[in-house]
Symmetry: C2
Subunit: 448 residues, 2 copies
């Protein structure tokens, strides 16, 4: 029995039901006649109230039980319809398993997120980070469930690759410590599983990866990590339009199921956000996706250029975060997929449109955070792909296998990537990406 | 509609039902009056028979459609109760989307697994590798589902760590290509997520990782990869006995659900194994787990020492694969957990038993493959853990955070690791680990 289940099913619980539970103490107050301990077991942000009376207080050494201590408890349920919590436990047996030393940095009083980043091994014992980890888990499972229900095959793209990630110079290199190279060639940590996913989609049709991805990002922003998780579906026989509909449906299903599963956690996060979080999420859930051509987006933005730092709005520009937010929040007022970007600001593998200027790419923007998903239809024509790689001075040999897919019944395929931590930020309202992954990795330091 | 669903639900399908489907051609035979194309869409190892008649043969250029081609088809279902397959599709429209060049290395005739390893981007288009990928997907999802149904939180242990993996010298090093170190210290690819999972279990109670893991293994065996996936649950308040029961129940649930979901794929694999695979798996599923003390296992092995290459059977030895297989296949004749290993052959973090010689570790051995899972109760006492680390001359500072968990309400916890690819080998009967992961990574080479 978890505390989450007790709250979910308390209408089936009866006065005096025997309860046995283990967890960590949140608070311990009262006097030498009656004590109230609130207990958490990690299953929910809500705590369970324990009542300890009379002799048991001395016998169990309740004075020694400080916040953070691990205890094991037996007792009986008592329904308390007039109290703030619907029930409590009258304790008959209490064992202190491990107390916390006085320098335990997690205290009931508010602590700054910045300070908590110094103790990533302990910070999930605060209400906020615990809640984020619970939501993270449900989002991950709902993503797997969605794909399984839609006939996708979960595949493992390799993490170690011979591909330096389009030569952007932001890759991490892997080797052992011997003078000879372990792989007899330079090896990199993958920046995407997409190219390998395309290979598997040709034959398995609908595939997805859910795996860590790496970037040697030197920027210390609240939105970048050197190690983060990506979700990358790839579907053969899907064009740009179909893959956009999949992205929209996936996001809406996963987010709405997660909200439904966690009323207590979402309520806690919503209050923290000043009651804004659920408004933002519901605006996304309840609004139909708008599809907007990049050209039209640029034209629309021109009318508002005074409002931006970057005011040189023109075809060929990469939309900045301020522009993306403005489009979804002010122009569309809902989720929007911008499509058909200029080819020069997008990756080599994207399907070249017949206008010769644009590619069949899309970015999905949502109110509140901006870009959540980027994807495209892939170029299926061997020669067009080869020409584009040559235009970009890419070395062909390491990607010959990828080109060859086009010679071997590849059809066409489309896919996208979701930065999983960005999605968690969106659903939890947490502003810094370092607070939604247990042990964030950034340039310059490794904590724990 | 997938081909898998058509076979699953064909009793609800009616003669003449309209069908529209895309996929890849397996075979194309017949004459200029009638053609039979078998089609696969990656959802199952079974193919769908397409029948093309009369004018349509010329109109659709059926002669050009070779094995591996991507096609799109419209037609009508025709029930064929007397034929080997229960239904076929009478095609009314056929579009060749992409054919394959003549050097397509995947042909209908049998190809060696060794040769297929040279073309990892294409080999999933054989029946065997396709089947393995389908089973891999279901095993992965069933593992997630099991943990979710048992109140576990999926966590991300970091891949990049400052920990060189107990100093075994088998870790891979990560850095960018600039002269200064990217992380300002040496960084490694994790060999386990366990230590970080322990931190999160203290507070979240039941957690698990499912993530890639890395070893700079130089051994070119059929059981080792430099990059493989691990499943690592960690549960606070669980002792050795409870974690063994969890491991047994997890394996049995996941394997039996996977078999049930894939009658066609398991039938295919069973035939390939000479009808041995399902016998082996059922023997595991239908036999209660035996728990055997390491001391007793060694005594029992002594009686059979003539049968082993390593005949020096004594307390303190590490059991070799031959011993493990013998125990589960001959001595126990079913799944067995060996417990309480000598501390000198096990890791520093394991709970030290009161005999001062052994630790509360277990290995779960199954008939047919030997060790499938290794785990332990962790040492919860700060000083005992510190002493053990000192005995082993480990450097304390990088793991001070891990020690500190014991000062901050850690209670006790237990966990184990499943090498995910080993599990796939076991369930599919595939003998070489390189054939159960799409793009295997081993010393000396990176293919694709």
């Amino acid at each position: 029995m978890t505390i989450k289940k007790m709250y979910q099913e308390f209408k089936n619980l009866k006065d005096n039901d025997a309860i046995s539970i283990e967890g960590w103490v949140f608070s311990n107050r009262g006097n030498d006649k009656i004590r109230f301990i609130t207990l958490n077991d990690g299953s929910t942000v809500r705590n369970l109230q324990l009542v300890i009376k009379g002799d048991l207080i001395n016998k169990s050494n309740v004075d020694n039980i400080n916040s953070g201590s691990a205890i094991s408890v037996k007792g009986n349920l008592s329904l308390t319809p007039s109290a703030p919590q619907p029930f409590e436990i009258l304790v008959s047996e209490l064992t202190l398993i491990n107390k916390v030393d006085e320098d335990f940095p997690i205290q009931k009083k508010e602590t700054s997120l910045e300070f908590l980043r110094e103790v990533p091994h302990l910070r999930h014992r605060t209400n906020l980070i615990k809640t984020v980890m619970i939501i993270r888990n449900t989002l991950a499972f709902e993503i797997h469930k969605y794909f399984q229900e839609h006939d996708f095959i979960n595949i493992a793209s390799p993490i170690i690759t011979s591909n330096d990630g389009e030569g952007a110079g932001e890759t991490l290199v892997v080797d052992d410590e011997n003078p000879e190279m372990f792989f007899k060639q330079k090896a990199f940590l993958g920046v995407t599983g997409q190219l390998h996913a395309e290979a598997l989609a040709a034959g398995l049709k609908k595939v997805y990866t859910f795996a860590p991805t790496f970037r040697a990002e030197n920027s210390h922003t609240s939105r970048h990590l050197a190690e983060f998780w990506m979700v990358e579906p790839e579907v053969a026989f899907y064009d740009l339009n179909k893959i956009i509909l999949l992205a929209d449906d996936l996001l809406k299903t996963v987010i709405s199921n997660t909200i439904k599963k966690h009323p207590d956690e979402m309520d806690f996060l919503n209050k923290l956000s000043g009651e804004k979080l659920l408004l933002t999420l519901n605006k996304f859930l309840n609004n139909k996706l708008t599809i907007l051509d990049y050209r039209d987006a640029v034209e629309k933005l021109k009318a508002f250029k005074d409002q931006f730092e970057e005011q040189n709005i023109h075809f060929g520009m990469d939309l900045a975060s301020e522009h993306e937010k403005f489009i979804s929040e002010k122009i569309v007022d809902g989720p929007v997929a911008i499509i058909n970007y200029p080819k020069n600001i997008k990756a080599f593998y994207m399907h070249q449109n017949s206008d010769k200027q644009t590619v069949a790419a899309f970015d999905l923007l949502v109110p509140g955070i901006g870009e959540l998903i980027g994807g495209s239809q892939r170029e299926g024509d061997y020669n067009k792909l080869l020409n584009r790689m040559n235009e970009l001075n890419m070395s062909i040999e390491p990607l010959q296998w990828y080109l060859d897919l086009r010679r071997f019944g590849y059809a066409y395929s489309s896919g996208f990537g979701i930065g999983f931590e960005r999605l968690i930020m969106y659903v939890t309202g947490v502003a810094n990406i370092r607070d939604v992954i247990p042990f964030p990795r950034i340039a310059g330091t490794i904590k724990m």
